[in-house]
């Protein structure tokens, strides 16, 4: 008898961990109020210490800015609350904290794609438009911090696509300028890959593994063909000729052998390695890989043999998507006046310039990209500015998590040949429509 009940106990104990996991998932949902409270009047009152909730900044640049603030504001000290490295986990913690209306999170550091979700749920406060020097910021970064014509966050740093190309091989093939369109790229590839020194190389790669990178590359392909994924209301617009042209370019890239056959498993890192090892001629990637590609310690076989430009378009100029982070204020914090002042200070041009000494993150102020001292250190900045000036944010929708999943699912089905382009886009349209009406 004892043994039997022990048996049961063991089973229960084993299953208990599951139940605990289940409640961890549900605890916050249970406390969700029936209706959202009215929007807190955009009054920024209350001074005192606040928490700045952010992902880790390994460079230490952000900490320097905060130290400077704390030195001059002894009664309004800012403490850093660090979140996990994974973006999903950061979002989960931020959401859970907002759902229980905890006042511990003052200023929050949000990925640009979360702006709509947080704004629509009133988890962040609208900012007074004159509070920030939006005029001197790159338009796309302000756009990405805006939800339905209201500014909800202060652009902190940004990110855009760069088109890396092997200048040595283009030169050898007698091509004077890097390609500006997809067709020019194909022509250039044909010429270069015929060279003996380019034997075994592939033409181009981006990020095509089924994760956020695919959403980025798909969005860029569609935007570069003149299309959009969603309209200003968040309603999907992917069942269009332009979207089809964009997706077809990617599908054909795989079909015609323009991309390496294993590019479907590439995230940012794998693509960087392929380019760095001289396996591909052209690469779409973020600016952060520039440093390792140009390393002269022998780790990179393409150092001094490559250059950057903005990404080619399908039918017009290429359109980059926008990465980066924004700072926003939680409506549940006590010290909103301090929070606003801190955001103004932290995202000011002065601080952004200071942070450039330590951090390679791209600032949101256009003037810094042409500053000779900065350009000397980061020669790709002028090109990046061109890319950012023309950039579009990823779909600005409230249910971004489910939206990007649906985009990845269908785009992946198309590029892996499981669905034809028309079906994939029609299915994507249906899925996104269902999400936007929720």
């Amino acid at each position: 008898m004892i043994q039997r009940s022990r048996t049961w106990q063991s089973i229960l104990t084993t299953s208990a961990s599951l139940a605990i996991a289940a409640v961890a998932l549900t605890a916050c949902g249970a406390s969700t109020p029936q209706t959202k409270a009215a929007s807190p009047a955009a009054a920024f009152e209350g001074k005192g210490p606040i928490n700045y909730v952010s992902s880790r900044d390994a460079s230490g640049a952000a900490q320097k800015s905060i130290d400077e603030w704390n030195a001059s504001h002894p009664d309004e000290k800012v403490s850093v609350v660090e979140l996990p490295d994974s973006a999903d986990q950061q979002r989960q913690q931020l959401v859970q904290n907002a759902q229980i209306k905890a006042d511990t999170f003052g200023v929050v550091n949000l990925d640009v794609v979360w702006t709509s979700e947080f704004a629509a749920n009133k988890w962040i406060m609208p900012l007074p438009k004159d509070a920030l020097p939006v005029g001197s910021m790159i338009d796309a970064t302000v756009n990405a911090a805006t939800y339905r014509d209201t500014l909800y966050a202060a652009p902190y740093y940004t990110d855009g696509a760069l088109f890396y190309y092997r200048s040595d091989l283009l030169e050898a093939a007698g091509i004077a300028a890097p390609p500006k369109t997809w067709d020019e790229m194909k022509t250039a590839c044909k010429a270069v890959l015929a060279l003996p020194q380019a034997a075994g190389m592939s033409c181009y790669t981006g990020q095509f593994d089924k994760n956020e990178g695919l959403t980025v590359n798909f969005t860029e392909a569609v935007a570069s063909a003149g299309g959009t994924l969603v309209d200003s209301e968040g309603k999907p617009t992917v069942d269009t000729a332009a979207a089809k042209q964009g997706l077809s370019a990617l599908v054909d890239g795989f079909k015609d052998g323009l991309f390496p056959s294993d590019a479907i498993t590439y995230q940012e890192e794998q693509g960087r390695r392929a380019f760095q090892e001289g396996k591909v001629l052209f690469l779409r990637n973020w600016p952060f890989v520039y440093a390792s590609l140009s390393a002269t310690d022998g780790s990179s076989s393409v150092a001094n043999k490559f250059n950057v430009t903005s990404i080619p378009g399908i039918s017009g100029p290429g359109v980059s998507t926008l990465g980066g982070r924004n700072l926003a204020i939680s409506p549940f914090t006590q010290n909103k006046a301090t929070a606003l002042e801190f955001i103004k200070f932290f995202t000011s041009e002065d601080q952004a310039e200071k942070r450039l000494a330590l951090s390679s993150r791209a600032p949101v102020y256009a003037s810094l990209y042409t500053n000779p001292a900065v350009v000397a250190k980061r020669p790709f900045f002028p090109t990046l500015l061109v890319s950012l000036d023309n950039a579009q944010p990823r779909p600005k929708v409230v249910q971004y998590g489910a939206t990007t999943k649906a985009i990845q699912e269908e785009a992946y089905a198309a590029i892996s040949g499981k669905k034809d382009t028309n079906t994939a886009l029609a299915d994507m349209q249906a899925k996104l429509a269902a999400l936007s009406s929720k």
Binding site: L12, L18, A22, N121, D262, Y412, S437
Partner: protein, 305 residues
């Protein structure tokens, strides 16, 4: 008095088992009703939907996804646990023989089990990447981390590598309490190695083996981190029930996430009960302990290892 002394345990159990379980079941009966008003703000409320979340699992897109995850979970459990059991047995048999460096082998065999699953997921990700060691050794160009059957194989290989030592060591412990005399008697009677394995080792090691397999079954049914890290979230080929529940809660759909968690809980519970009832696994090890004690008493002078 007994009740009084046990009451702290009862309270703890109620807090960490009963409450979460009931709360999860309660939550699974509600659905978030979200919409967007004219100004673009979310209107939100929870409605009681009864078993609606569960019925949704059987229909439409969500239904396909659930059935796929359910099939994956079952498939991974069956394949990995069978392979682990066979491999674990072989490992145990090898380790049970006396040879030089045996203790070194035993220690080294534990290493895969000691590596955190997420870390081993990363290690295998490097091995299985398109220009990784796996393709190099096989001379193939298989895309292990893309959708498809290859990704399933990758998960199975990594999982078996990691957990076969666990079965191996548990079974080895079971083998070590089998007295040497039994084998000596068998030898005198002319029984060969295979006969000894079938008539002595396996029957005597069965109680331990069953417990080991049960633990592995329960673990495998909850598989999450390995496919998540090795192949990636959102890949249909390797999506398990735990990953699905995680994804739902990540999309803030707590109702259906709870429904998935409850279903998984029931599935695990049913498997455990069936396993215990049908095969009579001695989960707490009392039977085995008693047996071992009796043995050692009757043969005090027997060889220790």
């Amino acid at each position: 008095m007994a009740a009084l002394l046990l009451s702290p345990t009862a309270v703890v159990l109620a807090l960490v088992i009963a409450y979460p379980l009931i709360s999860a079941i309660h939550q699974s009966l509600y659905a978030d009703q979200t919409g967007i008003d004219a100004d673009g703000f979310v209107t939100e409320g929870e409605t009681f939907v009864g078993l609606g979340n569960y019925l949704n699992l059987l229909t439409g897109d969500a239904g396909d996804r659930f059935l796929n995850a359910f099939a994956n979970t079952t498939f991974f459990t069956l394949t990995t646990v069978s392979l682990e059991t066979i491999l674990g047995l072989i490992l145990a048999l090898a380790m049970n023989r006396a040879f030089r460096g045996r203790s070194f082998l035993r220690a080294s065999i534990l290493i895969p089990w000691a590596v955190p699953t997420a870390v081993s997921g990363l290690l295998w990700r490097w091995i299985f990447q398109s220009d990784g060691i796996a393709n190099n050794l096989l001379g193939s160009e298989i895309l292990w981390t893309a959708e498809g059957a290859a990704s399933k194989i990758a998960v199975i290989v990594a999982e078996v590598w990691k957990t076969a030592p666990f079965i191996g060591l548990l079974v080895l412990a079971g083998m070590q309490v089998i007295p040497e005399e039994v084998y000596e008697a068998a030898k005198i009677d002319g029984a060969g190695w295979w006969r000894q394995l079938g008539s002595i080792t396996l029957p005597l090691v069965k109680p331990t083996l069953l417990v080991a397999v049960l633990f592995r079954l329960l673990d495998a049914l909850r598989m999450f981190d390995l496919p998540f890290v090795l192949i990636g979230p959102g890949k249909d080929s390797v999506e398990t029930l735990s990953m699905l529940a995680w994804d739902e809660s990540n999309q803030l759909r707590y109702g259906s996430a709870s429904a998935f968690a409850v279903i998984l809980f029931l599935y695990v519970a049913v498997v455990a009960v069936v396993f215990v009832k049908v095969l009579g696994a001695d989960v707490t090890g009392t039977k085995e302990l008693r047996l071992a004690r009796k043995k050692t008493r009757s043969q005090k002078a027997g060889p220790a290892s």
